[in-house]
């Protein structure tokens, strides 16, 4: 008796139909057994267990990755950069506002010089230094604007609104960073400080007669 070929077995195993094969299988225990053996083998292949990766493999992979950084440092750097950028924008805004409003010669306004196209900080200490420098400039600009406002009799509430918008932006930046690193103590400190300051500004605005207390501006 001529047995089925390996191509025919393979075709049958995949559910194909081969003329005369079924009749042959019914009469030939050898081929019938071979087909069953192939089916069993395929099942055994599919049931092979998953293997554990070799130990220390992650360390070897990580060593090949050029851009991994510690996540907490990334989070802090990100928020510090955001704060620095925001402070820069705010200082510029205050400076321009005071120039438009001031009737004094520009020299007497002594506005801080802000370099808008300064390269971004490449490390956390650099970013924090930027924040401190810009905060000092912000305070100087704020004091200057308050002085100018008192001189020309313009009500201060618009100044508070500027400040509130800035603090809202700071809260937003802190929350964005915290969504990635919820437990980071530095980021939480940023958020709490911003919320505290914002609450203080809102209290001041609410206490001033004729001042419209804004609703939720950012979230």
């Amino acid at each position: 008796m001529v047995h089925l070929t390996e191509e025919t077995f393979s075709e049958l195993l995949d559910g194909g139909r081969v003329a005369g094969a079924e009749d042959h299988l019914a009469d030939c225990p050898v081929c019938h057994g071979e087909l069953e053996g192939l089916r069993r083998l395929r099942s055994e292949l599919r049931e092979l267990p998953e293997l554990e990766a070799p130990p220390q493999q992650w360390e070897e992979i990580a060593a090949r990755l050029p851009y991994g950084r510690r996540p907490w440092l990334r989070g802090q750097l990100r928020v510090a950069a955001q704060v620095a950028a925001m402070a820069a924008v705010f200082v510029i805004g205050l400076g321009l506002g005071s120039m438009f409003r001031s009737s004094e010669p520009a020299g007497e306004a002594s506005l801080p010089q802000v370099v808008a196209d300064q390269p971004p900080a490449s490390s956390l200490p650099d970013a924090m230094a930027d924040v401190q420098r810009l905060s000092a400039q912000y305070n100087a600009a704020l004091a200057n604007l308050e002085r100018l406002a008192q001189q020309d009799g313009t009500p201060v509430p618009s100044l508070a609104e500027h400040r509130l918008a800035s603090l809202n932006a700071l809260v937003e930046a802190s929350r964005t960073a915290l969504s990635a690193e919820p437990a980071d103590p530095v980021l939480n400190a940023y958020l709490f400080a911003a919320l505290e300051q914002r609450e203080e500004v809102l209290r001041q605005m609410g206490a001033q007669p004729g001042t419209r207390r804004p609703g939720v501006m950012w979230r």
Binding site: E7, L41, R46, P49, A53, P54, Q57, I61, A62, P71
Partner: protein, 191 residues
Amino acid sequence: MVELTEAVLVRRACEGELEAMRQLYERHSSRVYTVVRRLAGDDDLAADLAQDAWANAFQKIRAFRGDAAFGTWVHRIAVNTALTRLRQQARRRDLEQSFDGSGTLGNPDRWPASGAADRVMVQRALDKLPEGYRAVLWLHDVEGYTHEEIGAQLGIAVGTSKSQLSKARAKMRSLMEQSKSAEVVDHGASN
């Protein structure tokens, strides 16, 4: 510790966060290692291939669009990495010479105890197949690739893929029968 969703881990990995990459690796390392190990036929090559696959995956993770699960995506990269390397190396083994019991067992330490002997026998037979046979057999019978997909992956005709599959199945059967016979002889000798 809060367990992050895979989508969050992928987003963080896209930003270059090493810890997120590590967690993705932990979740899928077995799956990746297993498929490259099956295709490679030995432990050392499999370890190299798994490293390459993960490095490739993390280097191109920004191209991951989330159409499929991350595990599916990285599994596909692992298969591609393995097949590319195997094609490049064009390694060929001498079946008759190597099927003497000295070949790799796929590190038995990492095999479950239950049914281990039978599975080791299957793995050993798989390892002894010629590389092309093993790749076609595994991709078709286990991974579910079509002959068209296999042809495209391996750079062979569909007919060649079918032919290799039937030969691979027959060879596996033959190797398994030999192995079982040898086991019977061994047991008989030790009694």
